[in-house]
Amino acid sequence: MPNTHSYKLSFSILILVLILCFFTNISLGSVSIPLRTILDSLIGTTDNYIIQNYRLPKAITAILVGSGLGISGLLMQTLFRNPLAGPFVLGISSGASLGVALIILGSGVFGGVFATLFISKWSVVIAASLGSFLVLLAVLLVSSKVRDTMAILIIGLMFGSITAAVVSVLSYFSSAEQLQQYIFWGFGSLGNLSWNEILIFFCIYLFGIVLTVVSIKALNTFLLGENYAKSLGLNIKQSRLIIILATSLLAGTITAFAGPIAFIGLAIPHMTRQLFNTSNHKILLPAVFLFGAIVMLICDSIAQLPNSGYMLPINAITSLIGAPVVIWLLVRKRKMMF
């Protein structure tokens, strides 16, 4: 196991890379803006609308989304001791999708009130949060009855199926315009948030992170198995509750604000474990934070197709760039670190 010194070095490098990615992300875009103007507008001497109100919020959103999804993925994988678990597995994002589908597509079925509601962005955010929260509530209710974490996992997947079914019924009765809106929400997007929205996003995100930090010890104990954890005096039920709550806060709010971003939640923890070679959450957690943020910034820079005027949906890039990296890491290391 690498010593503390080498961890310090790795973290320093990662932090440097993150800063570099952050500035690269801000300086790249469809419109070419000279470096001087970028720096001036970052410190507020030049009023460049694109930098201050578009690229900067986008870069910050990318950091919140990447780190938040990575961490919630790590939490789920540890809690369920399953390498395939991710924030979406509990049905959290399915719940959010259902909420959004009801708002966007629901006007086709229910008409009236929904039709006037569906264009407001806040209604989408509230619906997504409410959707994921309700699913979480159901999962928590079930988890208090069912002791087996695997059963909770399967129940989460079932929620996903139910959601998909309801969404398809809603889609069938919706207009092309509404369908397009819903599909575009599904593509994910980082660049559509105002500073106010980012502030609210950040507050909820921070709460999720605090809950995660509180659970570090419990997470390390969970890796040993529930029975073992119990014998170490861990309050399993309470810890499980806090971890699920943290995940749903992180994943729920990210899905609400940026849409369902694929791949990051599942893959970032694996990438981090491969590179850091540890399962200690004191190391893993900050590493996943940095990795998630870096990968998301890189994906966003690519999605912008710098200097072209066109851009790609962020979801396509996260999977297209991320999945081969994970495959390459697994092939190189020849085994899965878990």
Binding site: Y54, G191, G309
Partner: protein, 384 residues
Amino acid sequence: MLQNKHFFIVYFLLFIITSCKEDKRLNRTLPSQPEQAKNKYAEGFSVIKNDNYSILYIKNPWPKSEKHYKYALIPKENVSKVTLNKANFDGILTIPVQKIVVTSTTHIPALELLGVEETLIGFPGTNYVSSERTRLRIDNKDIRELGKNEGINTEVLLEIQPDLVVGFGIDGNNKTFETIKKSGTPVIYNGDWVETSPLAKAEWIKFFGVLYDKEKVADSIFNQIETEYLKTKAIASKLTKQPTVLCGAMYKDIWYLPNGTSPEAQILKDANVNYLWSDTKDKGSIALSFETVFNKAKDADLWLSPSYYNSLNSLKKASEHYSEFKAFKNKNVYSFVNTTGKTGGVMYYELGTARPDLVLKDIIKICHPELLEDYQTSFFKPLE
């Protein structure tokens, strides 16, 4: 019972076709030169007239379609004189059509302009229809609701037994239309939406003219629309001042606007305005990042059709960036989404294709208010 009726019709048609073999020979002995009615703009359909019947060709019912369709249209009085091999055609029907089902609101103005709207007996999504005349017939239950275009309620359609279904397809894979065809009801794809110019789209009224044996009426209606369009274009072309124009809006962070050669951009060009993306070459719409659009159009004088947003407030709610555009600040944002029929259907989508002259006048009235002083816009209204 229904099926029996249906078999009877098919049998009857076959009987008519097979019983006129003698006449076919007669026709062969006296061949005459087929006469092709030339379209001025539309490329998606053509009509060749033979002595006793016409052949309607449909070329481009959807983008990049390779299949061509061929329909025989036999005037009622000539049915006994013509024998045709069914296998050579995608459909054989008697004209004028007595009972029709159309599937797009853009088809409805053509029926009304030709004065044959009473033949319409079914429509998918009747709530989208705005025209008062047709709405009245829907309210009187003379027009049946058929569900949705991609999943037309086949049972209801078979029950009402139209002579013809005029469909449209995004590709050739509409299973419902295949089922309808199998049942013996001809389906003709209308490709007005694929045409690349506003006048070409409008010329599709001639397609309906052929189906109702009212070609001359259709010709004169189209000529009138064309004359009006060109006259209005000529008035605008004399001006030297061109306001700059931005179009479209964002879906998430991707901004969609019409390409330089799209029909929308052509109308803007004919209205003599400086559409900021008029130099783009592709068809359809162009997808750009917010940065690109903002950089180029933040000082544009006018902003037309910002997607489905119906007020300045709803635009701002969707994205604060919108409020940074000069056109937004000056309340120079115009949209057609607030001009709707009784049940919420957008008039522009229904009538805009058939009446490009009105669309052009709208744009000119907005961009050059000093012209067309007495004209009230038909579709576009400023967003409040």
